[in-house]
Subunit: 249 residues, 4 copies
Amino acid sequence: MSDPNAQPGAPPARYDDLTAVVVNCTLKHSPRASHTDTLLDVVRRIFSKHGVGVDSIRLVDHAVAEGVYPDMTEHGVAEDAWPELFVKVAAADILVVGTPIWLGEKSSVCQKLIERLYAMSAELNDRGQYAYYGKVGGCIVTGNEDGIKHVAMGVLYSLQHIGYTIPPQADAGWIGEAGPGPSYGDEVEGGARAGFDNDFTQRNTTFAAWNMLHLARLLKDAGGIPAYGNQRSLWEAGCRFDYENPEHR
Amino acid sequence: MSDPNAQPGAPPARYDDLTAVVVNCTLKHSPRASHTDTLLDVVRRIFSKHGVGVDSIRLVDHAVAEGVYPDMTEHGVAEDAWPELFVKVAAADILVVGTPIWLGEKSSVCQKLIERLYAMSAELNDRGQYAYYGKVGGCIVTGNEDGIKHVAMGVLYSLQHIGYTIPPQADAGWIGEAGPGPSYGDEVEGGARAGFDNDFTQRNTTFAAWNMLHLARLLKDAGGIPAYGNQRSLWEAGCRFDYENPEHR
Amino acid sequence: MSDPNAQPGAPPARYDDLTAVVVNCTLKHSPRASHTDTLLDVVRRIFSKHGVGVDSIRLVDHAVAEGVYPDMTEHGVAEDAWPELFVKVAAADILVVGTPIWLGEKSSVCQKLIERLYAMSAELNDRGQYAYYGKVGGCIVTGNEDGIKHVAMGVLYSLQHIGYTIPPQADAGWIGEAGPGPSYGDEVEGGARAGFDNDFTQRNTTFAAWNMLHLARLLKDAGGIPAYGNQRSLWEAGCRFDYENPEHR
Amino acid sequence: MSDPNAQPGAPPARYDDLTAVVVNCTLKHSPRASHTDTLLDVVRRIFSKHGVGVDSIRLVDHAVAEGVYPDMTEHGVAEDAWPELFVKVAAADILVVGTPIWLGEKSSVCQKLIERLYAMSAELNDRGQYAYYGKVGGCIVTGNEDGIKHVAMGVLYSLQHIGYTIPPQADAGWIGEAGPGPSYGDEVEGGARAGFDNDFTQRNTTFAAWNMLHLARLLKDAGGIPAYGNQRSLWEAGCRFDYENPEHR
């Protein structure tokens, strides 16, 4: 049998200058247990063990308003926790989105997170790129029956569309066999816990965590995404970066 | 290495050691005109102008078999052009997938491409990572009514899931107003061509092209994705890279 | 030119015993104008003109809790408007879900609606079928750039999965050309209003409205979906309705 | 006409005048075993036991061309089996689409089926409705890890969009726990066969089959979808069926 403690050498870099925000989009308020949080813990432990500063947000515990403006209190809503939470997201090198699956879809709380991230997409960094450039995104999904990939499609698409870089195999998750059943971490017959012995989930979660670290390292060392051909400010000023209208050929 | 402070007048690096494969997943056989190809040309021109070696494949022109094995002729199918095409994909730093939209979905030809890319996902590179590690993927979509984002969700998800890195804003496309109408590049009233004056499409296609170049440059200079925590061969040999089963806590 | 008032005969039935609930899942609180509401009006007018009792809910105006239980106040949440709103949904023959598109997805408010509809799916009617059996569902979508079909896929799937019948062409919507731009009903150059001259949107919205009426009529006259082979209560009591396990052959 | 109060012992109607086409979109050519076919058998057995005429098509065995025209041989393709297959689809009251899942998506063969069904959507019946009006559609999905709902979303959406009616709970399927593993019907440890003991799959497949029968019965007895407000021919002739442009209010 293989040795679970075998380690081929050492990680190729240090990561203790990196920071990550982990947003759990469970529908359950604290202090109820969240299955998604249990799997997010795997990622957090790998990050923390290597010195990454990890900030966790359980979004449903915060009064985040619905809407697509940066601060909804400026648009008639009484309370909006988003502007304060966004400060954390904006400061972090890595964003990990965790969500449960309901009827094959990401949670409404996760959809709201995406709407609010998108609401900030007019923000530019000091090089005229979208504010999320240079950051890395990934996705952890749990459910009891079906939908990891569909949920990850939507989450990862949204993240890259607003400027995050998506590392290889940046999604991982656990579901059981078709139909209702235990969720990730639930105690099952014989005292074991659902999903904990799933090699696929273990491996993909580990690979996702490491690939987020590797890309964040590369991008931080490179000073972000090189600023050429992707600066909204310059595009609006008329720069075209070798774009040629097919009409001109 | 890239200079992140390069001015608009000059790209921050050279790209003439990079290669790209552009796969057009139109349903139309050559020599019929493909609207998707017209938009892919924008990407190809940017790539070529900077010395990137570009190989174009119009998949429907090749006898690619249906199936999920590397070579379907070993499974009873008479002909399979995929193994030969895969050599090109495997050699390229960048993969650009172009597809039309039909009924809100990517084309069946594009779905077949994904199936065959996936069929090779057991292949490992010499560090034990999935073979697509270190490569960059993006997506160009055209249609006449609706579905760029949905199609890009599926394509980009698949690419990252098998090992590609997805740069920021790696998708671009054009559709017209809801309902049937001209496709990208079709001559419209007054002699103009549909979509050619669309600033959103111009900008997103340009940004996507440049971001593919930037990430490919970074990854090539880094020697690929660092090999730690993501090697299938070592995982199977028992290495766990700080994965801790929540059960053990 | 065609005569917009031409009417071939008369509708084949009366509909004034039918009721509909129209749920607008805009992110905007009242009294802000909702583009989605403008298109929903088309459906409401057709329904009302034929005597259908129409109840409208703007979900974001109600304190609907996140969660997947019938009444979240029984699970520690202070306020939950859902149980009261569900009474209306449960009484109606037709459910029309209207939603905007954000980043290619249905709104978070729409996702929350689906979660709460799903939360009631343990409810059975007096024949042992799921409570939504015998009802008809449809979907109206507006945005300014892309995603009608993707959004409708999710909404209509969810509705049929919990027991609604989906008539032919039960989705309709409007989006503009790729990229930001006016939303449905916005005043555009020359004083016209965006989307109002779109034949595709006009036709599809009309067809969707009528097909919801036709199916609701058929199902009401039939006393609902015939009760055989689809009663959860009987399934759980052991009835199998000619299901044969392939293993037995 | 159906008796909604029929007892569990007897179906409420006869179905032996109905016909169904079952299309298996596996990627595997005959005579290789198809897991999807094994689950489709459950539906076919229920149909056949009640006298429904069932025609099965394994699409990959036929030389169906890529494209969006009714007959691709008129557009330069050497061979196209679709026109002949369409005759069967057009004659049947029920269409059951079966597909495997690959990387979370329906198969490319299934996507091609949808493209070709869509290619016929200009066809009208003798009342000016789309040709698929009055027919009923459903969906059976198998895989080994994830994606039933996502796949069903796309398939059922497409079917309703071109004119099929979707009964309640018209999708069913089987997948195993996250990760690779046995497919539906594979022999597993102890000689059992994967998925055969899954109550959720058994129930949903049975309910889907019966609901397709019930709706097909209702629609056949009603002479199809009532022809008012949904006839493309009349719309094009200028009839508006109480559509009122919001601009006119």
